[in-house]
Subunit: 417 residues, 2 copies
């Protein structure tokens, strides 16, 4: 599979600034010609995950607005929309701008919109035709938004956030939600479009119970506001759900918020590529709760090469905290000989990443590895690593490679962090 | 200072993909019109640090090849060269390509060069006129490089790395260095240009003693190789030094490696913007060792806005792990009212960042903060945070703003990670 040394003679300046990391051509075979480390999304599990989540949401009568902050890859946003997503969720105004620039018209900014520069971005998007919702949780922000959007001659759809005591943003009680709804109704430049929540910050001994209770509280508050005629949208949104508890949120929405009265919107983000750590674990719990046998599959891997075998039992791999998320240590999945066949997978049993520096991983090799404690491992061997979690891996890359089962590059997916 | 609401009407699509984060225009006043969060480098401490390190190296007869991986900002590379740097150090082949594309001709790749795609990048740079050194620490890599560069009809200057037992890459003994030097001498496409080390991975109870011993060992090995006529460069390089122990390395080079025989090269990277954590601490030790009163000054800050004040004593700030390095929690330095005067600094005494999520910081406010435990704090207040360490903050940004004392943007510095 390998080219002869000297065969490739790329122009070193051919890659335009600033795309100098992981922006190769497509279709050059088993990651050949590609400077490693590189982040890779495997097509088969990606396609599976898109279908899986579509079915999951449809079965529960929920809209899907996947959180785009996970990947910030417009090529994946398009796949998510093609797989039936109602819109995309984003975390910041610049993220909304990037998504809109790539054709996403319905945007849920699942955060408070703060700062005139960020308000200007959102106002510009609305003027350009975006359907965009933002979140509010306090009077001062409501007043600032009303002032700004009135001056722009625009009306901004807002969702009130119900928070969790000890949690992150959001009103801390149903009473506070009600009072803020009345305040929004008095703000001519704002339009109360629904309620928003984020259950991912629950804590305590019984997180499952806490999420269920929170979901009920959110829907109850929505009914209260609807009963008082405070929503200014025919079918108000009720939205919550990160990547760990979306089944419980979907269940509460499905049973408590009839779909003719509310539009339930789920916002998981990590599902699209899943992971080998935090969310793999969350998924096991979810499958057990749902009684489902088949779940999401990990699609995101980082490929890197053994850089040095300096002493028995230790491999230094050219991949560091600038290449992978560090919530959990990356997991060695498979190994290949550079220039070899993608079907010829070499073992990594017992490999353990014990330390990450900025640009290096320290991998302990098993004692059984033979000669010098490294066995058949060679400098230059290519190792595929699973990561956790995906959000903090995607943001290390300006481009992520979508590959087929033979590790041929199908698409170079730019990110827009 | 603030514009009237509605005055700014930027085209939401005006920012070219993918530069959607932190790429504003320059010269618009106190960060006005700039979407926050944003990473900022203050000119005064930056200029101070450039001069400080130049003097430090000159006084010790050492060349400076600052580690460019810290910032990957060509605008800062240029400042470092203007301040007398001999060349730039980089961590990967794509980083070398990016630096060369921005005019840096002398490049020290302080890592093993592994993988044909990376070798192809380096070969292309040499063909294009770069003076480039790479590091080797093992026979297999030496053989692979010799094969590749011979096929390209090139000669690659290499430095042998002396490592530290239990450390990262590098030969584990003087004997191994000698044997590898003899091997390099037999490789027609390689040229032995010097010795390389990295003392930043010492451990144990007496790191200072360990660094001193390691520096002596490195210089001794250089003398041994020179005595045997193994270097293939008239004045071979002897290079080491990260951002914590460069004084001890410089001292060893100065006293043990006469400058007519060796070219000593120091490679600190973080000094250029310094930090408010790990390296601030390392610097205090260094100043104590050197008996110097005045050291480096922190120049890098991340500006972010209070997003929510959801409960007494808690502020949620719109800045997370995607915006700042997480070795230490960011340190609240100053606060400003949005649209206010940059000289009107509001207090942050007692503010403590207690948690970082991907896009949010949880800040505990002091109990003395008055009403609701938030005192005069308002949603929208702008907070300047100090960070640690700089490498893992720069890599979160596609552009970093260079500002003057009034926080006017002087330059938008692109990064090329």
């Amino acid at each position: 599979m390998s080219a002869e040394p000297g065969e490739h003679r790329p122009d070193p300046l051919a890659d335009e600034f600033p795309g100098d990391k992981g922006c190769p051509e497509t279709g050059r075979g088993l990651l050949a010609g590609i400077s490693l480390p590189a982040a890779v999304v495997r097509e088969a599990p990606l396609a599976h995950n898109l279908i899986w989540m579509r079915r999951f949401a449809e079965a529960r009568g929920a809209h899907l607005a996947p959180h785009g902050k996970t990947t910030m890859a417009p090529a994946l946003f398009r796949r998510q929309l093609e797989a039936g997503a109602w819109g995309m969720t984003l975390a910041t105004a610049p993220q909304c701008r990037a998504a809109f620039a790539h054709g996403i018209r319905r945007l849920l900014l699942a955060n408070q919109l703060v700062g005139e520069a960020n308000m200007a971005i959102v106002a510009g998007l609305i003027e350009a035709g975006a359907e965009l919702f933002v979140v509010v949780d306090g009077e001062a922000n409501v007043a600032a938004l009303d002032r700004y959007f009135a001056a722009r001659g625009l009306r901004l759809p807002v969702l009130i956030e119900l928070g969790i005591p000890g949690g992150r943003c959001g009103c801390r009680s149903a009473e506070a939600v009600l009072a803020l709804a009345e305040r929004v109704n008095q703000a001519p430049a704002l339009l109360l479009a629904g309620l928003e929540g984020y259950e991912g910050v629950v804590s305590g001994d019984d997180p499952e119970g806490a999420v269920r209770a929170y979901a009920r509280e959110l829907v109850t508050a929505a009914h209260t506001l609807a009963g008082k005629g405070l929503f200014e949208r025919e079918v108000p949104l009720v939205t919550a759900a990160g990547s760990a508890w979306y089944d419980l949120i979907a269940e509460a929405f499905h049973t408590l918020a009839p779909s003719q009265a509310f539009a339930p919107v789920l916002r998981p983000g990590c599902y699209v590529v899943h992971d080998h750590g935090l969310y793999a674990e969350a998924q096991r719990h979810l499958l057990a709760r749902e009684g489902e046998a088949e779940g999401l599959r990990p699609a995101l891997e980082v490929f890197a090469q053994v850089q040095s075998l300096p002493e028995p039992g230790l491999a230094i791999v050219a991949m560091g905290r600038r290449d992978v998320g560090g919530d959990r240590m990356p997991l060695a999945l498979r190994r290949y000989r550079e220039g070899g066949d993608p079907a010829a997978v070499l073992p990594v049993a017992g490999w353990e990443v014990v330390k990450l520096m900025d640009q290096h991983a320290f991998v302990r090799l098993p004692e059984s590895a033979g000669d010098m404690g490294v066995g058949d491992v060679r400098v230059g061997d290519i190792v595929a690593f699973g990561v956790s979690h995906p959000c903090l891996t995607f943001d290390k890359w300006r481009a992520v490679l979508r590959v087929d089962d033979r590790l041929e590059v199908q698409e170079v997916m730019a990110t827009c962090f």
